[in-house]
């Protein structure tokens, strides 16, 4: 079978992308970009003003000295950088798509791997074009409109309804499949969305510190464990009371309890669910999941939840795993801290999946006469999520310091040697520190310091911090104009919280602390790529949600699903608000 469909669509998409890069490079669309990249453009105006002032000063100086006017290059502003990024990406992908598009038109495809790989490219290009339009166009347009309407409405509708690139991308994906249908040339490539989402999860592994993973892992195991078992049990109970067939109860409980459609797909053959039971269950889960993806982030913002709280709530309360990622990014699209939390919950759910499928298989065999017994080992091996191993491998690599120095926290690491000259403390700051050092060495000061350290149990590792530690850290900082070790940084951070400390000295400690921490370039790149991979994957997954499948929601699954889904969402919200703090 030949998969490649001859079409000029790929070539056209490539040309559109190259045209966008060209327009950006030439500055032709700077007017439009100044609207779309409004906040970056403000920075651009500042940089330009500063540059013009410097140029004028240098020109005047040169004129006085009788020298020719100096040549100065304007430094790149955030606006220039954003435009350059768009150009780079558009050139890279546009160029590749044009070449492959031309190749597709002249090539006579034969069955084989090359045919298959070529056949997925147009679909990938189709999703990527939508991702570009959404992220660079619709997202800022809605952002600007939301801000503009705030004066009249009194609230930012774009923020409240989370009209950002993630939600808009999924909505456009759903519209594309239901209104326009996926073009035949794109169908194969659209299915690769799953692969890109899994790649995103694997790359996420680079962003966790061991402490974060341990804390989030522990929290997710407790919450998922309780709510998975609770909802599976609740469905089994309700199914029995409502007299639904065992196969329907079993397939519904897996979907409701573990990870939505994925769990239904995994459990249906094992519990021998009937066709209409599968249709009802998947319809119910999809409709519930899509609804939650829009409602959860809005509630999260209204309740002023933090990333850990929202990630834990979405990760537990939303039935379908795709919508967990969607809701997390919808809630927090700029940083991916909420996604990091939510994905740990997703991974925990998928690790629970083989166990729950086995449990339901055993339950079904026990309750259904003539049910076929399942091979436990086969189920465990077949259902094991292999991509989780990739996530663990990336986490392990990250922990060894391949991407950022070992011990980095959220991609940030301490390094005294990398502090640039212009980030060193100024003389007024070192004087203030010296003054504080002298004061704290005095009778009154040392007494106050000692009291502060004891009362606040200031520790360094397992030992208590002494006044001498503080004197050494302050002396070193004043002498070197920068923090030399992580231990000294820790001591000084504690000192900065002491009442009565000179404000300039306090600010100097803060400045020195900031200067000593650096963001790993590779981790920064990973963050950017992860956001793109998830945006791409979620648009593609949106294209798998058909209205006809949603319409199948009904029957007993809709009743049971409604009750259990609501109980799970509200129950997990209460638990999160009561017990989960922003402690990561």
């Amino acid at each position: 079978m030949v998969y490649t469909i001859k079409s000029s669509a790929l070539l056209i998409i490539g040309i559109i992308m190259l045209a966008w890069a060209g327009l950006n490079n030439s500055g032709t669309i700077d007017g439009m970009q100044s609207y779309l990249l409004a906040s970056d453009y403000k920075d651009h105006a500042k940089v330009m003003k500063k540059y013009e002032a410097q140029l004028k000063a240098a020109t005047d100086k040169a004129a006085v000295a009788g020298e020719p006017a100096p040549e100065m290059k304007m430094p790149a502003s955030k606006f220039d950088q954003s435009k350059a990024t768009q150009s780079k990406m558009s050139n890279f992908f546009g160029g590749a798509f044009v070449l492959i598009g031309l190749f597709t038109l002249v090539w006579k495809p034969k069955p084989g791997n090359l045919d298959y790989f070529v056949s997925v490219v147009p679909g990938i290009a189709y999703i990527l074009l939508i991702a570009f339009i959404v992220r660079w166009g619709l997202d800022p347009i809605f952002g600007n409109l939301g801000k503009a309407a705030e004066g009249t409405l009194g609230w930012n509708f774009a923020k409240i309804f989370n009209l950002n690139y993630v939600v808009l991308g999924i909505v456009i994906g759903i519209i594309a499949v239901n209104v326009f249908r996926i073009p035949a040339w794109a169908a194969n490539g659209v299915r690769t969305a799953r692969f890109f989402l899994k790649t995103g999860v694997i790359l996420l592994g680079t962003l966790y510190s061991a402490a974060e993973l341990a804390q989030l892992g522990g929290l997710s195991v407790v919450m998922i464990g309780a709510f998975v078992l609770g909802s599976v049990g609740m469905v089994l109970f309700m199914g029995k009371r409502m007299g639904t067939p065992n196969s329907m109860t079993a397939v519904l409980s897996s979907g409701m309890g573990v990870c939505g459609v994925s769990a239904t797909v995994a459990a249906a053959p094992v519990v021998q669910a009937k066709a209409e039971e599968i249709a009802y269950t998947i319809g119910t889960i999809l409709i519930w999941g899509v609804g939650c993806m829009f409602v959860f982030p809005t509630i999260g913002h209204l309740l002023n939840m933090g990333p850990v709280q929202f990630g834990a709530w979405a990760g537990t309360g939303i039935l379908n795993s795709a919508q967990v990622a969607g809701a997390a990014l919808a809630f927090d699209p700029r940083s991916i801290e909420t996604l990091k939390v939510a994905e740990i919950f997703n991974i925990t759910r998928v690790l629970f999946l083989p166990v729950i499928v086995l449990w339901l298989a055993a339950w079904y065999v026990k309750h259904e006469e003539g049910a076929q017994k399942v091979n436990l080992t086969q189920v465990l091996v077949a259902k094991f999520p292999v991509f989780v191993l990739g996530f663990i491998a990336m986490f392990a690599l990250s922990s060894t310091g391949v991407f950022a120095p070992a011990g980095h926290y959220k991609g940030k690491y301490f390094s005294s040697s990398e502090i640039k000259e212009d980030k060193l403390l100024k003389s007024d700051e070192t004087s203030a520190l010296q003054g504080e050092l002298d004061r704290l060495r005095g009778a009154e000061g040392s007494q106050a310091l000692s009291k502060y350290l004891t009362e606040n149990h200031v520790t360094l590792g397992k030992r208590n911090v002494t006044s001498d530690d503080v004197y050494t850290a302050l002396t070193e900082l004043a002498a070197n104009k920068k923090i030399m070790t992580r231990e000294e940084d820790s001591v000084l951070e504690s000192l900065a919280k002491m009442d009565g400390l000179d404000e300039t000295a306090k600010e100097a400690i803060g400045t020195a602390h900031k200067a000593a921490y650096h963001t790993s370039k590779s981790i920064k790149e990973y963050r950017n790529w992860i956001a793109w991979l998830f945006a791409f994957g979620l648009i593609g997954l949106g294209m798998q949600i058909t209205g006809k499948a949603l319409k199948q929601a009904g029957g007993a699954p809709l009743v049971i699903g409604g009750v259990v889904g609501t109980a799970k969402a509200i129950g997990s919200l209460i638990v999160v608000m009561l017990f989960v703090k922003e402690f990561i």
């Binding site: 995994a266 053959p269 249709a279 006809k548």
Partner: protein, 156 residues
């Protein structure tokens, strides 16, 4: 009825379809009319893996094969049953299987098979369990170039 060469019967074993079957067999002329049995696997099954992305390809394949097996067994059962009844009554029988939108499939099959008449069951009453994949009666009436006969609802 004269010149009733073939009747297109849309039938998937539902209560309404059984009423349509009875009407078609009653209308058909033994030895003259061919019953063209249209069996549609609705296109909503295309989206039935939904947005699952966590499973391995093997799990998705197992699910796909399982659902295909279920639908295939159902189709075979329906075909066998109607074929048997047509044989008993002396009607020629031709099965046509399609996958897609039921209304569109019916319109296309009516043209392709050049049928003399189309017989369908009454719309399923609201609240009765079943797939949400109904015939669009208006679209059907507008698109068909042959008579459309709809069985009456069963009296309650």
């Amino acid at each position: 009825m004269k010149n009733l060469k073939s009747i297109l019967l849309a039938h998937h074993g539902t209560a309404g379809a059984l009423l349509a079957e009875a009407l078609a067999l009653e209308t058909a002329v033994a030895g003259q009319t061919q019953i063209v049995h249209l069996l549609v696997v609705p296109d909503f099954w295309d989206g039935m893996q939904g947005d699952d992305w966590l499973n391995n390809a093997s799990t998705r394949d197992a699910f796909g094969s399982y659902v295909e097996g279920l639908l295939e067994a159902d189709v075979k059962q329906q075909l066998r049953a109607l074929e048997g009844r047509c044989a008993e009554l002396g009607f020629a029988y031709k099965p046509v299987m399609r996958q897609g939108d039921p209304t569109q499939c019916l319109l296309e099959t009516a043209v392709q098979e050049a049928v003399s008449m189309v017989v369908i069951g009454p719309p399923r009453p609201r609240g009765v369990p079943g797939y949400r994949s109904r015939m669009d009666i208006v679209k059907l009436a507008r698109g068909l170039h042959v008579p459309l006969l709809m069985a009456a609802r069963a009296s309650t």
